[in-house]
Symmetry: C2
Subunit: 453 residues, 2 copies
């Protein structure tokens, strides 16, 4: 959300290098709002503004900035300044920043950090993108099972400023294996002398560090949790993923799916801020593949050229019929892809889906076939070139029926197949389904025409 | 997520009416997991199982069930049983349930509830679907500003079992106007004798009860909050929306957009559980509109019938050209619709979008035009019917170029226009854009052909 009234104020303060005024401005606005305004400025301007803030606030505002701007500012900062910024940032966000820095820059900064911080950054930055490890943070609260509720609250009170959340604390044994979860609510409700071991929940929902971030999101959603603990293969606690990071994952995954379904390589950033050439290639790649694939329609039509020269009115209905098939295919592909993403169906349900879509395709095809029959009957006699309107109507209605059924089946089964072989079902984007249906549609339509005429 | 190994166990226990075994089963599994298994059973079976649980657990499991199943069970329950269930459910979920019950059933139950509960249900159920009011809950914690931190914690301790969250408390004045927010973390960190008025944050992010639920979701996301307070037009606190409900809103809105973009009236429930007739009409409606709209392609082709009889090879490239335009249009429509949904752009950015898409459409069109030129040159001489391959290639490449540019502009500007006039931009679904491009594409292609030949 942009705040058009605030932007000029901020610009003027920066232009006049009014340090006192800028500090007042920052005190009066939420870091997320200020960051939003700063996003439109140049890295050197933002660096000047950030320099006026204390370390903790600076890190907070910085974390809300767009990744591209963060990288620009990090590039301009002095080594010491950048190292100081990293110590104040939340553990997951600083690991993300370090992952994006040039390797030589990382080597410069690492020696300036405490050993524990260095190891933490290295560890978090090592996880593959898209996994639980890559979205988790390591600043969570840990309790030992022997503490009493009062001692635990006292410990959390001391640690609170450095932790992402103190509302859930994780209980680990000597080997750091996750053995329990205790919420601050549980601690407050418990008698002060009761031990954590007696209060904690032991039936813990967790995810493995190598799992897909989508699995983490689904678990947190399904159980309405504030955070999900992440464990390694030995069951040792290595991080947590919090509710706000899960929201980011859900939004990012939905965007990725929507883009893929429309035949666009997913954009990481903002539409207008993505460089032209990068967007051009993300779109052009699929467009070209689809265009070359579309040559098949030309080949198919070439085979029937003599036939449609003999019966020219057949040509009039080609776009109508193939687009009906394409639309139907897109509907099915979208329904199935979304149902897969929401965990409503799995590839094992293919038989139910197949049956469902055969019935759906047939009934939708019949309905559109009737409409097409009526429309073809109304073809003006001048356009019929001596062809029987009734014959034309038969061919068109049968053609629509078959193409719609084909579209439905291709659209429904391809995403299931892709998922089955471990690919993203959204990749079988709607235009790919439409292209496949175009070709089969043309062949089916003319095959029917040849049979009827 | 289904748990295939647990389902047979549960079925057997129910079949044998093994009350003790079922109670053990419930103790051993998370309510979300049990509810997931129960979702596949009949309402009367689930009612039997729920009858074995204590009131609080029963309400919890019930809340996790699919809405259709909830309605079925509520229909079978005795009045008193249903009233008791409502008193244990969270305030937002019971209001949703009551909204779905038949009016005569609501009248039967209401007298059995305490007056405060009745009023709460009536109030929450009154808000229009899709607004903040319809997703908010009324079981939040309220503090008065004069309390000390210790007194506030003591109050929360007493109220905790009945509140959706005690991690955020809201501070209101005598007129119930929202004047502050205090987190449990702030209360725990503060000296016990400090007053809430001194600890609370007064710069509160809130939403109005009539606002769209998407606005609520965006605010909670932007500021990384656990819950967002909802106020009426006088600034009085009337409810809160919690992070887990926001996740549900985000997922539901994304599904709605994806379905709309593929030309499907959004499904409320699960793909395989939606009744066939309902899904048929949700798909058939748009398919028929698009099919009838597609008649325009037939009309357009009829105008050029004599012309393509004279130059038959022109027909071979019709599907290729219109599908390139349609694909390009879908890409742009998807990019813009998603960017609008994420708040990255607003209709006021139309000029920047227009310029961007003119450049993008032209450069993509030129690239595909070159490919099309080469392809058309390669048309076998037998298929040319005496036409010049070079002329054909010129027409095809120019046609692709113009159609791709058209597709890009139509796809980008229509969602902006829809948003501007207050409609859902996803409604200008990709197939509608494709249909529009089909017609303009055919006209443009033959107009170019007439000019060149």
């Amino acid at each position: 959300m942009r705040h058009p009234l605030l932007a000029p104020d901020l610009r003027e303060l920066i232009h006049e290098q009014d340090a006192a005024g800028l500090r007042d401005f920052f005190d009066a606005h939420h870091p997320a709002d200020t960051a939003d305004l700063l996003d439109d400025l140049q890295p050197d301007e933002v660096l000047f503004v950030l320099g006026l803030l204390d370390g903790r606030t600076r890190a907070e505002v910085f974390s809300y900035l767009e990744p591209e701007l963060q990288d620009g500012i990090a590039g301009l900062m002095e080594r010491r300044e950048l190292a100081a910024l990293l110590t104040y940032m939340s553990h997951d966000e600083r690991a993300d920043l370090v992952t994006r820095l040039p390797p030589e820059r990382v080597e410069q900064i690492m020696p300036l950090l405490a050993q524990a911080e260095r190891e933490d950054i290295r560890r978090l930055a090592a996880y593959r993108e898209g996994t639980a490890g890559a979205v988790m943070t390591s600043d969570y609260a840990v309790l030992s099972p022997e503490l009493t509720a009062a001692e635990a609250i006292q410990k959390l009170r001391q640690e609170a400023p450095d932790k992402e959340t103190i509302y859930y604390s994780y209980v680990v044994d000597e080997g750091r294996r996750l053995i329990g979860l205790v919420s601050l609510k549980d601690l407050i409700l418990a008698p002060p002398t009761r031990r954590v071991a007696e209060i904690m929940q032991t039936d813990i929902i967790s995810a493995s560090v190598q799992e897909d971030r989508e699995v983490v999101a689904q678990k947190l959603m399904e159980y309405d949790l504030l955070a999900l603990p992440i464990v390694d293969t030995e069951g040792r606690l290595v991080g947590i993923v919090t509710h706000d990071d899960v929201i980011d994952v859900i939004v990012a995954e939905a965007t990725e799916d929507v883009h893929r379904m429309a035949g666009i390589e997913p954009l990481a950033g903002n539409y207008l801020q993505t460089p032209f050439v990068s967007l051009w290639s993300k779109r052009g790649l699929w467009l070209t593949i689809l265009f070359v694939g579309g040559f098949l329609t030309t080949v198919a039509l070439t085979k029937f050229e003599d036939f449609f020269q003999q019966f020219p009115p057949l040509v009039l209905f080609i776009p109508l019929i193939i687009s009906a098939g394409g639309n139907c295919g897109s509907q099915s592909a979208t329904l199935i892809t979304r149902a897969l993403a929401l965990g409503q169906i799995t590839p094992r349900d293919w038989a139910r889906v197949f049956l469902h879509e055969v019935l759906m395709g047939t009934s939708l095809g019949l309905a559109l076939g009737v409409v097409g029959f009526v429309r073809a009957l109304m073809t003006p006699s001048g356009a019929l070139h001596g062809m029987s309107a009734l014959k034309l109507a038969q061919v068109v209605s049968l053609g629509v029926c078959v193409v719609v059924l084909c579209g439905n089946l291709v659209g429904a089964l391809l995403p299931l197949l892709l998922k089955r072989v471990g690919l993203d079902p959204a990749l079988m984007s709607n235009p790919v389904v439409a292209s496949l249906v175009d070709v089969t549609g043309i062949v089916a339509y003319f095959a029917i025409a040849q049979a009827v005429l």
